[in-house]
């Protein structure tokens, strides 16, 4: 069992959320996409696999059972990292081989975006976690704590931590499904290979396709050096296997850029602070001060004396 002291917690901060929001590409029409120059190139797996299990076992065999790391030999993923939304390969219209009903759902979202510029409603509004696989690209900071036996892949939004067990234990299916699923993995040199299953029916991102609870995935994580003017980043190549939502595996990629500003991830509140709700017409609206149901903001705020730096 890995103890807290075994975890090499990595800290820092990421500029990419700012970049993502500052990018003109994100202000254009109805597209939540990364600018083409920033999109990660998808590198498909070495062959086509029938399932995530087959894919994972192939990589495990090729890695001769995986690399046995110590804390000293693990790669350095320390720091705070930018969201993957600024670099995701996914873009409208998605190249996913969607099944007929999931294609219809996606097309309905696209219709809503043409009507209003946005989908009517995002399930995150009522404080649902982003969940896996959306976790990969949700536009909030990430932080990674690596240890030989398990690694924590953390996102500040909704305090979502993916625990990836790399000590050889098998999957333990939860009772029902989980927002982040169940993840096991192994190290192949400096690459972390992750097999995830047991997720919930959710979505890849607001306005993007849905995934079913049958989704499983294989991810290959690696810190890569920046070349061609690109920064160093933690790169994820992932293959989605969803026999309900997809008719074939879907390969995607994203990455996280290290932040160059000081930042500390804090507890993410939503239930007591969000006044955004679904209206009777199914669209999004907001409860304002003085209206029924309004949640007053906290008043125990520390305001440093004027002229002093808080950080």
């Amino acid at each position: 069992m890995t103890r807290p002291r075994d975890l090499a917690v990595l800290a820092g901060v990421c500029l990419a959320c700012t970049l993502a929001f500052a990018s003109p590409a994100f202000a254009q029409a109805d597209r939540l996409v990364a600018p083409p120059a920033q999109r990660e190139r998808v590198v498909p797996p070495p062959m086509t696999f029938a399932s995530a299990e087959e894919h994972y076992n192939y990589l495990l065999k090729r890695a001769k059972g995986g690399t046995k790391h110590t804390l000293a030999t693990l790669p350095d993923w320390s720091g705070i990292w930018q969201s993957g939304i600024a670099t995701m390969s996914m873009a409208h219209p998605v190249d996913a081989p969607l099944s007929v009903p999931y294609r219809a759902r996606y097309e309905e979202k696209r219709r809503q975006e043409r009507e209003l510029g946005e989908v009517y409603y995002d399930r995150l509004t009522h404080c649902e976690p982003s969940a896996y696989p959306r976790w990969l690209v949700e536009p909030y900071h990430k932080e990674f704590a690596l240890s030989p036996h398990q690694s924590w892949l953390m996102q500040e939004f909704m305090n979502e931590t993916r625990r990836v067990y790399t000590d050889g234990r098998p999957h333990a299916l939860p009772d029902g499904t989980e927002w982040l699923g169940d993840s096991i993995g192994f190290w192949d040199g400096d690459k972390l290979v992750v097999w995830t299953l047991g997720v919930r029916s959710a979505d890849y991102l607001r306005g993007y396709p849905d995934n079913s609870a049958e989704l499983q995935s294989v991810e290959v994580w690696q810190r890569v050096k920046g070349t061609g003017g690109r920064p160093d980043r933690v790169l994820v190549q992932a293959t989605m296997y969803d026999p309900v939502g997809l008719t074939a595996p879907w390969n995607v990629a994203t990455s996280y850029v290290k932040a160059d500003y000081e930042y500390r991830i804090r507890y993410w509140d939503c239930a007591s602070t969000s006044n955004d709700v679904r209206a009777n017409d199914g669209k999004t609206t907001v409860i304002l001060p003085g209206e029924e149901g309004f949640k007053a903001p906290p008043t125990d705020v520390t305001r440093p004396p004027a002229g002093t730096e808080k950080r």
Binding site: A27, G117, Y120, L124, Y140, Y263, N275, T284, P304
Partner: protein, 146 residues
């Protein structure tokens, strides 16, 4: 409408293109984010709530008849504001400000915040919803430099 508040629907000459929000934890379809729909509110800061998933700036405007009206403006999450250097100290209650925002489509006194002009003339952009703050500020500066 005669009042001390300056509520101006701006028809920017070069802003006809629809601007759609980028991303946050909810859809922005309740706001009219088009440049031509922008409202300009002059008032005094009542409250700055720096919270996740969205911060809110409340500004009190004094009307011509002496009555007061509160406007609420939705801004970005802490996670997106701290990296911009925007903190709890950025908006002090009592400060006079001018806020440019995309109003709620249903007419209530609220909007998606684009940028804030402070009393000393500097600007801050605590906006969510993509690049709408910088775009609005660029248009504002271009218009006011003519």
């Amino acid at each position: 409408m005669k009042s001390c508040i300056s509520l101006v629907v701006i028809a920017m000459a070069f802003g006809a293109a629809s601007v759609t929000p980028a991303h946050a934890h909810h859809s922005f379809n309740m706001f009219d984010t088009r440049p031509e729909a922008e409202v300009v509110i002059e008032g005094v800061i009542k409250q700055w709530s720096l919270v996740n998933p969205h911060s809110w700036l409340t500004v009190t405007v004094t009307n011509a008849d002496g009555t007061q009206t509160d406007w609420s403006f939705e801004a970005a999450a802490i996670a997106q504001l701290i990296p911009k250097g925007i903190t709890i100290q950025t908006y002090e209650p009592g400060e006079k400000v001018t806020v440019v925002a995309g109003p709620l489509k249903d007419g209530r006194k609220a909007g998606i915040l684009k940028f804030v002009k402070h009393a000393d003339g500097h600007y801050t952009l605590p906006n969510d919803a993509g690049n709408i703050g910088q775009e609005a500020l660029d248009r504002w500066k271009a218009k006011n430099s003519q």
